[in-house]
Symmetry: C2
């Protein structure tokens, strides 16, 4: 009997009716002869009520108690889903993070990290024939305080559990039916991929694809755990994320990603001696400003500038950090530009195919799209362009690299 | 620094405002230089919503998942109360049963029993200056399943914690301001007791007083842990429950208790040989009919009868059990009488004062109150009387034993 881990979508647990439908779907998997673990995210069920109670008591509740309160929601949903499964004549059991022995660190940048997980607990429930329903995204630290895994924590829980019980795969149920060559909402010819490598998926994830969190993809890569991204409502084939893809001979670019609301900061110095990349970016990091692309331009020998991009949310903070630290950072001017977007192409074939970036820039020039910043890695090229040109850029690149072709 | 454990009342945690008031009161205790543990019961906060969600999924949710869902409410309340304390500038930390290492049995008659508790967790939080807020009435079994302690579980949690941290006392916050010689609502001259022994309190508790659950009193007696019953809203002296009471020379009866809606069954046999107490009461127990008073009357040598009393809730079940088992139990007729009540007098002085029961019967006879059944123990006498006479009986007995006098 094979073990599978299914990560559920919050939307599919938002009403008793939907919980009932999800119970049926998990029972179908069980009937196929599979041992099933379902990993449940935080849902909207009663979440608003808890938030309201909490903030009526204090504007600044402690992080420890917020974690306690937030952890209850997924636990509640896991118990309700178990009841819905039992109602249909199958065994089910809900488990909170602590019941699974999910040991974590304390908070690191607001998120706890999984250190250990005890798969035996699940195996024992499998032996009794139960579908195991786990509250995702939570664990306990060394002092038995409840901890939350933060962004991507539910995906990560699913992969970590799969590794601990030697599952044959993790299935991510989502409102998409797989991973696409580009966002179908903006690139009309976008096509669903049959498979994609961990590295490509990682780039796509970091570049704004919301389907699987990069933390989970990284963990899956480490344990060589296959991930299937599939629809939570329709029973259609999804996209397989795995280590290597056969038949990738002719494939250079595998997908186009985009991110809106990028802001470009430019900081200028009077002389090269005053400028210090490490000073600047350490100060920004200390104040939790997340910097993405960095470009150092030495316009002439005496007046260097440094440009970097951030997301919209960080704007006010970045401005304040630069103002507060103007003296110690030693720059002579700083400004920022809004109304930008990032468009990226991703593909592990790039490594052995020089000229991909050039082909990208060439196409964008033909489309009269101005490239404001560039960033490259082994398997992706990102450009920052005016946001008004973003959709046109994504479609053009999708076309340029023949992503609509069935071969890809 | 002394340690105290306070058991809170659900009513005082039913709104954010009341939670805030309770936080203030606990902070007052802390300011007095005491280490404080607050034990929180299940409240109405969101309880209705959870129940509604649960039963919209299944009419018969499994007991395991019901325990999971029900345990969340006290945990929620403990976290919210912690936040309200923090808001006022004091440290506080919420703990669920499992975080305290409250190890329990599995269910025995629907309730789990505490086997072990780890006081060190609380002591560590005391060292950091925190008020510890515990979700009462819950623990975990040997497989880390959440268990509920059932009726009286919150009181019992408070006493068990007090024993584990060597507390100087347990305070039970309630809507009464102490233990009374009788229910002030029916006995006009009822008076608050300064103190009462564990044994007397046990009898009162078993006889229907709802203030402290007998399970908790029994545990307190075992560990010689003083309990103070006091008002949750007013800062007035309550009643101390302890091992022995000084100055009890002249005290015979300490309180009057009552219970309404008692039903008396009478079962008649053709011959003494056919009648079997053990057969009858084993059969009733097997079907979970709780029998209270039992009277065996041998009216003449050949036609014995057995009478027993039960609470109203058990009527339908008792009738069915007798019908279903008429043949094997061998009785010739069975009937029942409704509209009865039980009135009891309690006092550890009775042991060494013969004639108390006689004095009770005498007074009831003078009041023209018919006694239908009698049951005695070392420190109490109970009589079953017509319910219409109950209030009169309670007042008469309160008067007969001078319970209104200050000396008592």
């Amino acid at each position: 009997m094979i073990n599978i881990v299914v990560k559920l979508d919050a939307e599919n647990l938002s009403t008793p009716e939907k919980i009932g439908e999800m119970a049926k779907r998990l029972i179908e998997e069980k009937k196929f002869g599979r041992n099933v673990v379902a990993v449940v995210p935080t849902t909207d069920l009663l979440n608003g009520n808890v938030q309201q109670l909490t903030y009526s008591l204090s504007d600044t509740p402690s992080e420890r108690e917020l974690d306690v309160l937030n952890s209850m929601n997924a636990h509640l949903a896991s118990s309700l889903l178990s009841i819905a499964i039992q109602k249909r004549g199958f065994r089910a059991v809900s488990l909170a993070g602590w019941q699974l022995g999910i040991q974590t660190t304390g908070k690191v940048n607001g998120n706890a990290r999984i250190e250990e997980i005890n798969g035996d607990v699940i195996i024992e429930h499998f032996k009794k024939g139960a579908i195991v329903v786990v509250a995702g995204g939570q664990g306990v630290d060394e002092n038995n305080n409840i901890t939350l895994l933060g962004n991507g924590g539910v995906d990560t829980t699913a992969v970590a559990i799969a590794a601990s019980i030697n599952a044959s795969r993790v299935e991510i149920y989502t409102d998409r039916d797989g991973v696409y060559t580009a966002d179908p909402e903006i690139v009309t010819k976008a096509r669903k991929l049959k498979d994609i490598t961990y590295d490509e998926m990682l780039e796509l994830a970091y570049l704004g694809s919301k389907i699987v969190h990069p933390r989970a993809v990284e963990l899956a890569k480490k344990f060589e755990m296959p991930i299937v991204v599939r629809s939570s409502t329709e029973n259609v084939r999804g996209t397989l994320i795995k280590g290597e893809i056969e038949m990738e001979k002719n494939l250079i670019v595998r997908g186009v990603a985009y991110e809106t609301d990028i802001i470009r900061f430019t900081v200028g110095y009077e002389s090269f001696e005053n400028s210090s990349l490490s000073n600047l970016f350490n100060t920004l990091a200390m104040h939790n400003v997340n910097v993405d692309i960095i470009v150092q331009a030495v316009i002439d020998e005496v007046k260097p500038t440094i440009s970097f991009s951030i997301e919209k949310e960080g704007l006010a903070k970045a401005v304040k950090v630069l103002e507060d630290n103007k003296e110690s950072l030693g720059f002579s001017f700083a400004n920022f530009e809004v109304g930008l977007a990032k468009v990226s192409i991703v593909g592990s074939g790039m490594v052995s195919n020089p000229g991909v970036a050039a082909r990208m820039f060439d196409r964008l020039r033909k489309e009269n799209i101005l490239v404001k910043m560039v960033s490259t890695s082994e398997i992706k090229v990102s450009v920052v362009v005016p946001q008004d040109d973003m959709v046109r850029a994504a479609n053009a690149l999708h076309d340029e690299f023949n992503l609509a072709d069935e071969l890809v």
